[in-house]
Assembly symmetry: C2
Homo-oligomer: 271 residues x 2
């Protein structure tokens, strides 16, 4: 007999991103329970809400009512959603009245501000940062390097590129990234163009084992992927980071979200 | 006299991303009130929590107590944070007991699952998707195009690249993107390599005014940036999308988060 798993719906009048991360944080407190997760974004009209209710009701299995995490703002939409045969958890219901009391201000419901385009300045910054970071991926360009907010350096395959992209997309940080290569590993000296921006540098490493495994996917049985080479490069990178006083983190056990957050703090890029 | 603005702190034992998006959704309901926002991530130890309390207490201005949105899981840490002179809003406090009752399960506090590396399979997918999407940015490669989950097509400067990167980073979707160029605009026909993956295609447009403005930043007074050329390209792109039955969205009024979410739905990429 198949195990019966409770369905979870993240329902939003926007992208669903807030509903997903808020709901996931709550579900993480029940991480031994399996859930079947679905996102229903852009629920704007009563008809959208009715379709959503039908989908939730169709997901009732045995006595397991679906869980619905709702971040929809419009009270009319919410009251339709709440009629579903479900455990209905609303982001605003309990907290907004608390905030109203403390702030001594009535709330003014606003939809789609969380992940919309409303903060135009910040949004344009993020798009410009993506462009900058792509142009400066993997040491492709030295142009306008002085405009970088941060310069990631690391041996090949330690996670420079996705971390740079994340910094740009999420935070609007202009992130250049440069691979450390043979010359640097031998004499522990950065090239002048990089040394000039060492104060903006943040380093990445990985364990030699992880690095060798990742490199082996790309070039099996190469010197590049050998454990000896990886051990040599990681030790040399750490030596360079110490020499230039470059803070660094290990990407073996940290996600790009975590690496980006640590790097932001290390380079004082947060407000 | 300067206006006094209330400070807000998003405090987390992880990256702070959940605290930021959850708190921002709540603050959006008070969008006429200005707030001075700060994120304090990786609050793990009692000493971290004490430093956090000191920072919050230092931010009390006049009678305006700071707002603290906390997603820290450890009860010992939370109880230290709650001693700050602040309005303390906890993500778990009210909702976890409700979930415990409905799920008939005791919660098992778990830190850092939201944006950590714990779901290794999904994480590796995301990293592989970033690599794929970079390799297939702006029509750079036709290699392994059949492995794409989605193929974004659009005239130059409609937002293909940041949307592709976002799809890869956030959802682990392998997103290729291709610019529509002169030949296509004239005969409204996709080249064979693209026509072969038309079922995976999602189109972007922008208003001719917006497109002209964005292009003018890069090449002022060029034919490329002229309103006539932009009008021509947008009309031709829409004709192509209709002809090949390609769903599309306007990036003028939608953020990349919204475009990515719409595209995921249009191509049925959500579970």
């Amino acid at each position: 007999m198949a195990t019966t798993v409770r369905s979870v719906f993240f329902v939003s009048d926007g992208t669903g991103l807030t509903a997903e991360s808020w709901g996931a944080a709550l579900l993480a407190q029940f991480h031994q329970t399996p859930f079947d997760r679905h996102t229903i974004p852009f629920v704007h009209t009563p008809a959208d809400a009715e379709r959503c209710v039908a989908r939730v009701n169709a997901a009732v299995v045995d006595s397991l009512k679906p869980l619905v995490f709702s971040t929809t703002v419009d009270p009319a939409i919410r009251s339709i959603l709440a009629t579903a045969n479900c455990i209905f958890i609303d982001l605003f219901e309990q907290t907004v009245p608390v905030l109203e009391e403390h702030l001594q201000t009535a709330s003014a419901p606003a939809m789609g501000l969380a992940h919309g385009i409303s903060d135009t300045g910040h949004y344009q910054n993020r798009m410009a940062a993506v462009e900058y970071s792509l142009e400066h991926d993997d040491g492709q360009s030295l142009r306008a390097l002085s405009q970088a907010d941060i310069v990631l350096v690391a041996p090949s395959r330690c996670g420079k590129t996705p971390t740079s992209m994340y910094l740009a997309l999420q935070y609007g940080v202009k992130a250049a990234n440069f691979p450390l290569v043979d010359e640097e590993f031998v004499d522990h000296t950065l090239p002048p163009s990089l040394a000039a921006v060492a104060s903006k540098a943040f380093g990445l490493i990985a364990t030699p084992q992880r690095l060798s495994a990742v490199r082996s996917e790309r070039r099996p049985n190469s010197k590049y992927a050998s454990i000896e080479q990886c051990r040599f490069e990681v030790a040399a990178a750490e030596e360079i980071y110490r020499r230039y006083n470059i803070p660094y983190a290990d990407s073996t056990s940290r996600s790009i979200e975590e690496l980006a957050s640590v790097a932001m703090d290390a380079k004082a890029l947060r407000s």
